[in-house]
Amino acid sequence: MRLVYPWLCELVKVPGDPESVATTLALRGFEVASIEHGRQPVIDFEITANRPDCLSTIGLAREASAAYGVPLRMPDRAMPAPGNGPSVDVAIEDADLCPRYCAQVFEVGIGTSPAWLQERLEAAGVRPINNVVDVTNYVMLEMGQPMHAFDLARLGGRALRIRRAKPGEKIRTLDGVERTLDGDMLVIADAARPQAVGGVMGGADSEIDAKTTSMVLESAYFTPASVRRTSKRLALKTEASTRFERGADVDAPPVGIARAAALLHQLGAARPVGRIVDRYPAPRPPVTLALRGARLTHVLGLQVPADDVPRILTPLGFTVSPSDRGGAGWQVEVPTYRVDVQREIDLVEEVARHYGYDRVPATFPALASPQAPPDARTLQDRLVRQVLTACGFSEATTFTFIEQQAAAPFADGAEPAALANPLSEKFAVLRPSLLPGLVDACAYNRRRERRDVRLFETGARFGPAGEARAVAFAWCGAGSVPNWSAATRPVDFFDVKGVVEALCGAMGATPAFEPATRSYLVPGRTAQVLDGSGDGARAIGVVGQIQPAILDARGFPAAEPIYAAELDLDALAALGAGDIQRAEPLPRFPAIVRDLSILVDDGLPAAAVRGTIRRAAPPTLVQLAEFDRYRGKGIPEGRVSLSLRLTFRSSERTLTDAEVDEAMTRVVAALEASHGAQRR
């Protein structure tokens, strides 16, 4: 709302310059967007949605009057004596959408407005058009009541029907656009057809122009929700609809006509003819609220002196009388323009606003009992970040909604959940996985010549079962930090698998890996991650190499691999990872270490070999690790040399070489029997 400073001063003699007014009202809830100096200084206020009454000069003047303690002087609103003649017939057929409608016929002489009026309108941001339209705009800016003028000669008859539109009914509005209406929209119609969309915009067919000699001035109150719905559906926002949809003053329509008549008379532009028509089938009783002094103190945390309550509320237009109930309190009648004041708490705010938030002390709420620990998910996220940043991954933040084409390959055949009203195709569906965002982030960095990228993200993903939490990470470029001392090796499967193992370990899971297929991962380089710590193996994620075709589609060089993994944080949380039960004592007896090299079939999984060894060896086998895998010269075609280190230790005694030898013999025999292994 552009408040024209001299206009304000005409209504309230504010003892301050525009800066002072701006600051004073800012501290009462009216944020200042800008101050413009010049012949007509303007303060542009941001009016919050609850204060439609302050989309007017009088509304803000009332606030200034209360703030400065200076009286408000209302402009001349005396209706000039009307000439003889017929008025119009008004029938409100849908009073739920239009509770009140006033109309007055005028004889007019269309011309231009005087300079002072034009200047004021321009300062307020409204383009002057002609004396009649300018006066209606002036009244709207002054008191917040939107009005509309119909050319009486261009209406079909002298009867106005305030009714719902017929579905499909058409109207060409003042902006020249033909609009199709639906049955929930309110129109002002003559006998034949709509001449205005109620509270939103007039029709072009009855628009006043230079030839107009007789007009009907409308000043009405329309139901906010209805105007809001219509304005939204027609995608048509006007000065009038903005005011009506937030709530205009139901008592203002006749006042608005009187004020406009007085101004038109003053300009010599028009003269009322016949009586004003005021249809108000169900007058609303005034709202009266009780305000308790104790409640005021209870909410604000300070004692407002009793005298200050009427001192604050009266200039704002409230009628305050002492309560006849016990204790300090008041009966407060709410003016009709204060649609936001509906219950006691709203009065508490009024008092606080003008008493001054700066006079409220700064205290701290008492804490009666110790607080519970933070949400487990917050703590889990922190642990994930700690581990992954230590593994060299930086944290990414990618959008929750992504392109359909980016999402589809990761949805595993399901249809990604779509938004009903996306901003653009780029933000069309909910991400089924965190991986597409990370692939795009890798591509973004790669295009900027950053080849070695490690990124991770935690957050929500949306699968067929709905919203769930996940962590994902992606790694491309070098498998180690490049250094002058050695050639860098490109990242491979075992780099990311190692990170999965570290992360699972940190969260108390014992991951197991088995070959798997995912449409977005390269076959043969894809594993499903299972938790093997419980009784049944539970799927907790996936690890592998992203399909080059996807990389190509997202602008990443298809020849360069991105390895990635995604883990289900909800599943990991369910494992109940936490503290250890007790610290194990350190071993008291020495270990015996044996290395074993065997030839096995190339396709035999390491896990199978390990399983056979574990089953064959006594419980004194405490550690088993692969330390070499070799194919090629000296090894028969189709076979591979596998070297393992076995560590034996007892917690009760020192083992003898003989018993370890015997264990090794059993292990080798089992490997021979199960896998046709040959010891080398």
């Binding site: 204060r51 209870h298 945390g301 300070l302 002390p361 709420p365 909910l430 919203e467 250094n483």
Partner: protein, 345 residues
């Protein structure tokens, strides 16, 4: 032979011995069993008159010991300086382990969480998908409420199961839904913050994003006042921005709070004098807040006469832009490592 003279000569020669080899040569010259200066001296003692022999012998021995100690020390010092094998160029770069950076929004979120943990707040997290009731209706924003325009909403094409297992129709526009859910489940007192991603139908540009991060707070108990809200917000602002920044609390409007207020801090770039950054007001808006509207208490079944409370919400992106002088909000979502790696670990 004059013993002090020999000592003097030795000291001189040792002082000018520049290399380890020169020191070794001195050892040969003075201490060689055959022909060494000290050995010769002891032999001379034997041929001295019997009366002088004991005194002379003592002096000669002391000199020999002195020379031996000096040479041993010098050789030991030289050995300590000698490299064990090949030398290294210590100016070449080391093999640094890879260390990742947390996202700046996380960094700030964790700082904010740390402050409120010290203030005795609980941290709760909730679903990002919400239903109309928890996002709007329970918060005093029934259908067709004008305030819904303040938070233009992204809706789902068809309902999706949220993280709490209920059918959701929209992307939450704030984390307040979580507070409603908490109040539905637990009686007062309540003292919590709810951080997380929120969504609005705003085009992505320099200062707006359809997705951003929020921390909302809620305190409910008997006797919680607007003064408590003001004190809590001022303490928070001073913790986060530093005690030298001035704070201001002024009225505002939110449908779920009444009275409502916004917190401002004095502009850092003009120190309150007024500049482009603060729209010439000298103040920068930090967050919105207010006393919980009785209608919200009624929706969750709290006694609105007995209990009062306050709520606040702060956008982390906005704070991050202010704090680090970042001019483009999109940098937070592009994940350019050159940007991410600027922030402390």
């Amino acid at each position: 032979m004059d013993i002090p003279q020999i000592k003097q000569q030795f000291d001189r020669e040792l002082a000018s011995a520049a290399s380890e080899a020169a020191v070794r040569a001195l050892r040969d010259k003075y201490l060689a069993r055959k022909g060494g200066v000290a050995s010769n001296l002891l032999r001379d003692v034997a041929s001295a008159p019997a009366g002088e022999r004991p005194a002379l012998g003592k002096l000669a021995n002391e000199l020999k010991q002195y020379i031996d100690t000096q040479l041993t020390e010098r050789l030991a010092a030289a050995a300590a300086r000698r490299p064990a094998g090949e030398t290294v160029d210590v100016t070449l770069p080391g093999r640094a382990p890879a260390l990742g950076h947390r996202h700046p929004l996380t960094l700030l979120r964790e700082r904010i969480e740390a402050i409120f943990l010290r203030f005795g707040f609980l941290i709760v997290e909730g679903p990002e998908l919400e239903d109309d009731y928890h996002n709007f209706e329970a918060l005093n924003m029934p259908a067709d409420h004008p305030a819904r325009d303040m938070q233009d909403t992204l809706y789902l094409a068809s309902p999706v199961t949220s993280a709490v297992g209920s059918p959701a129709t929209l992307l939450r526009t704030h984390t307040s839904g979580m507070q409603v859910r908490y109040m539905e489940k637990f009686p007062p007192p309540v003292r919590l913050i709810a951080p997380g991603r929120v969504y609005r139908r705003d085009d992505l540009d320099l200062t707006h994003s359809p997705m951003f991060t929020q921390v909302e707070g809620l305190v409910v108990d008997e006797g919680v006042t607007l003064a408590d809200l003001k004190g809590t917000l001022f303490a928070f602002a001073h913790e986060l921005f530093g005690p030298e920044r001035r704070t201001r609390f002024r009225p505002s409007f939110f449908p779920y709070t009444e009275p409502s207020g916004e917190l401002d801090i004095s502009c850092a770039s003009c120190r309150g004098a007024g500049c482009a950054m603060c729209k010439n007001t000298g103040w920068i808006e930090v967050l919105g807040s207010g006393m919980v509207h009785p209608a919200v208490f009624e929706a969750v079944g709290y006694d609105s006469e007995k209990y009062t409370g306050f709520a606040f919400g702060v956008g982390i992106e906005r704070l991050a832009l202010l704090k680090w002088g970042i001019e483009d909000i999109r940098l937070f979502y592009e994940n350019d490592l050159r940007f991410l790696e600027q922030f402390p670990l």
